[in-house]
Symmetry: C2
Subunit: 118 residues, 2 copies
């Protein structure tokens, strides 16, 4: 499957809120990175990432999301996300870009860039 | 200057169409990458990149642009661009994400991800 097709299929599963669908693209050894120094900023392996997702959905009320893309370069693709969420009683609008690296048809790294706000 | 500030300043110069302003952030050894195999897909050094920009502006009529971001991860930032352009008589709407890598306050690499279209 071409990188373009993987990128499109993955992004469509995210848009459809089909967790099993997009998780099927995760490598067993997937590394998930986000900015900062906390324990959640580097997660290694499918099991840890499933736990992180479970934590997120338990602790967050998602009011709406937007998903734009994908955009492809080589074996990588990018997706832009917008989220209107309430966490710990505080509602906020977040914007981020996810950059995904693909090897052998699977996502081996996801790296989230955060909007700097205004 | 923090990566957040560099990202914001650079993106503002792009929004302002201030070429001298954003080019001031380019390292002398900047590498500029876009998808594909052509001669323009890997450009090395400020002089070559200035030539590429000159070529682009000579050969393209830009009707409108959108710029969203920046989004920051570590020493990198991402910007999402939309462009309505005419090249060689053909008008098209392009979407892309630029991922910029910063070292010592300068952009040492820019990498453009292209929208896959529909």
């Amino acid at each position: 499957m071409s990188i373009e097709q993987i990128a499109k299929d993955f992004t469509q599963k995210v848009m459809d809120d089909d967790a099993e669908g997009y998780q099927a693209f995760w490598s067993e050894d997937i590394v998930s990175l986000e900015p900062g120094d906390g324990p959640m900023t580097r997660v290694e392996g499918r099991d840890q990432l499933l736990q992180k997702h479970a934590w997120w959905f338990e602790n967050t009320e998602v009011h709406s999301t937007t998903t734009e893309g994908p955009y492809v370069f080589g074996n990588q693709f990018a997706v832009r996300y917008g989220m209107d969420v309430t966490m710990e009683g505080e509602r906020s609008q977040m914007e981020e870009v996810g950059v995904y690296t693909v090897e052998d048809g699977k996502v081996v790294e996801e790296r989230f860039f955060y909007g700097t706000g205004e």
